[in-house]
């Protein structure tokens, strides 16, 4: 068998138009050997769940800087569950107030990353979530 590749969907749900962060993370994940399906701006939760299914991804990275995360994230998680994709790990990046973090983690978001996060930490967390091993 060939070596197992981690497949990550990177998407920006909603109307937020700032994609530089998402692109930086996408490139970092590629440089870490992962296959990144980059779907870009203005994705609906339905489009994200559909892409996650068709591409059989291990991980979804959502980038939200608009403040709409408490509306968008639950919708994505519900659709993943309805599609048989509960195993897909969801990570969230962007502008996420501290007080929302516990609720989001309760919903099932695995990692939450604000400005200043080191990409190597995201990579480490993704590898641990998918492969169950520490790579340090």
């Amino acid at each position: 068998m060939s070596e197992r590749k981690i497949r990550v969907l990177v998407a920006k749900p909603g109307l937020d138009g700032h994609d530089r962060g998402a692109k930086v993370v996408a490139r970092a994940l590629r440089d870490a050997g992962m296959e990144v399906i980059y779907t870009g701006l203005r994705q609906t939760p339905e489009m994200i769940a559909e892409a996650a299914l068709q591409e059989d991804v291990d991980v979804i990275g959502l980038s939200i800087l608009s403040g709409a995360h408490m509306a968008l994230v639950p919708r994505v998680l519900d659709l993943l569950k309805a599609s048989g994709l509960e195993h897909v790990r969801v990570f969230l990046g962007g502008i996420i107030p501290d007080e929302d973090v516990p609720r989001l983690k309760e919903m099932g978001v695995v990692g939450i990353y604000g400005p200043g996060t080191l990409t190597k930490d995201i990579i480490e967390d993704v590898r641990r979530a998918v492969l169950g091993v520490s790579t340090s």
Binding site: K5, R30, D31, E35, I37, Y38, E50, L53, D56, G84
Partner: protein, 346 residues
């Protein structure tokens, strides 16, 4: 329900079928034996889909074009039934990190939410000819699942990216004006594989030069009769022309503006015409047989090599390599030695 049965529900509204299909594609990409077994079960159901390859240099608008083409297949003029369509988009992997950015889905917004469409992105994973090793198998799965048209989109900028011509029934090569293609067009390889040539972004300056350069390149292979005006009278050209053999395909050069949808219905019509041409001339069966033969021989070569690799004694192999590195023997002599030495017939 067997894998084969659940896959074959994937073109309809069956979410379970689509999930099973997506998982099977991953197994095939990862060389999982379960994937191979399912492929064996599914193979009798293959052979009906129309495989359409779309290739061309980066920046020519292939993904936008595929987006519009698929949309037209899914929304045909009234009366016709929409065809189910799969899209396989192949992007290169980094030779250093093994990772990839698969960004072709970005351009395919018009197809979101349509249960008759399935889009799968693949990384080349080290293959050099423009397609991943697993791409042919992936198209077989879509074929067996009942998708009627399968687009395979791949980057092709040089002369090595011709895998697509062997896999696809109809190969579309996409150019765009102003990318320096006037010179590129003269190079052999990628333009020779085109069944249909498309100049996309045809609203940009330089489109006439690009079309002219492509026409010139095509005519080097098959000159067309010309008429010249001389003192106001029409003269037939004295150029030698190949007689028009019935059943030959003349590669059309089409202009499109994919982002506006201009020229896309005409392109779809050319694709449909090409399919009909392949079927009436028997070329469909010939290409199918040739493709399967190539796949068979590649698998045989792989198995033979692996068998030899298992049989050859490592110490003996190292000794031969050492002698080769010292230039005591040549590569051909080394090959003879390792094959004979491991019990293979010369």
């Amino acid at each position: 329900m067997s894998i084969a049965e659940s896959i074959r529900m994937a073109t309809g509204d069956s979410p379970g079928g689509r999930l099973a299909l997506a998982r099977l594609l991953s197994q095939i990409e990862d060389d999982d034996p379960r994937g191979l077994e399912a492929l064996n079960d599914l193979f009798p159901y293959t052979g009906r889909a129309h495989l359409v390859g779309v290739t061309g240099a980066p920046g020519t608008g292939k993904s936008s074009l595929v987006n519009r083409l698929v949309y037209h297949y899914r929304h045909p003029p009234t009366g016709e039934a929409p065809r189910s369509v799969a899209v396989v988009a192949v992007d290169p992997s980094s030779p250093f990190t093994g990772g990839a950015i698969l960004g072709d889905r970005v351009r395919m917004r018009d197809l979101a939410g349509d249960p008759g469409v399935f889009i799968r992105s693949m990384a080349a994973r080290g293959s050099l000819g423009g397609l991943a090793r697993a791409t042919a198998s992936v198209t077989q799965v879509f074929d067996a699942a009942g998708f009627e048209v399968i687009f395979i989109e791949t980057v092709g900028a040089g002369q090595a990216e011709v895998d697509i011509a062997q896999l696809a029934h109809t190969t579309i090569v996409v150019e765009a004006p102003g990318l320096g293609d006037e010179v590129q067009a003269i190079k052999a390889g990628i333009l020779e594989i085109a069944d249909i040539l498309v100049v996309n972004k045809a609203d940009r300056p330089g489109v006439e030069n690009t079309v002219r350069a492509l026409k010139g390149m095509l005519e080097l292979g098959a000159p067309q009769p010309r008429t010249f005006r001389h003192h106001g009278a029409l003269l037939e050209s004295l150029l030698e022309t190949k007689p028009e053999v019935p059943g030959t395909w003349t590669t059309p050069i089409l202009r499109t503006v994919a982002t506006e949808g201009d020229g896309v219905p005409e392109l779809l019509e050319a694709i449909v015409r090409h399919r009909a041409h392949l079927e009436t001339t028997g070329e469909w069966q010939r290409r199918d047989r040739a493709r399967l033969q190539a796949e068979l021989e590649a698998l045989v070569a792989q198995r033979l090599f692996e068998g030899w690799r298992r049989r050859v004694a490592p110490a003996y192999y190292r000794e031969i390599l050492d002698r080769l590195a010292r230039r005591a023997i040549s590569p051909h002599q080394a090959a003879e030695a390792v094959l004979v030495g491991s019990g293979e017939a010369a």
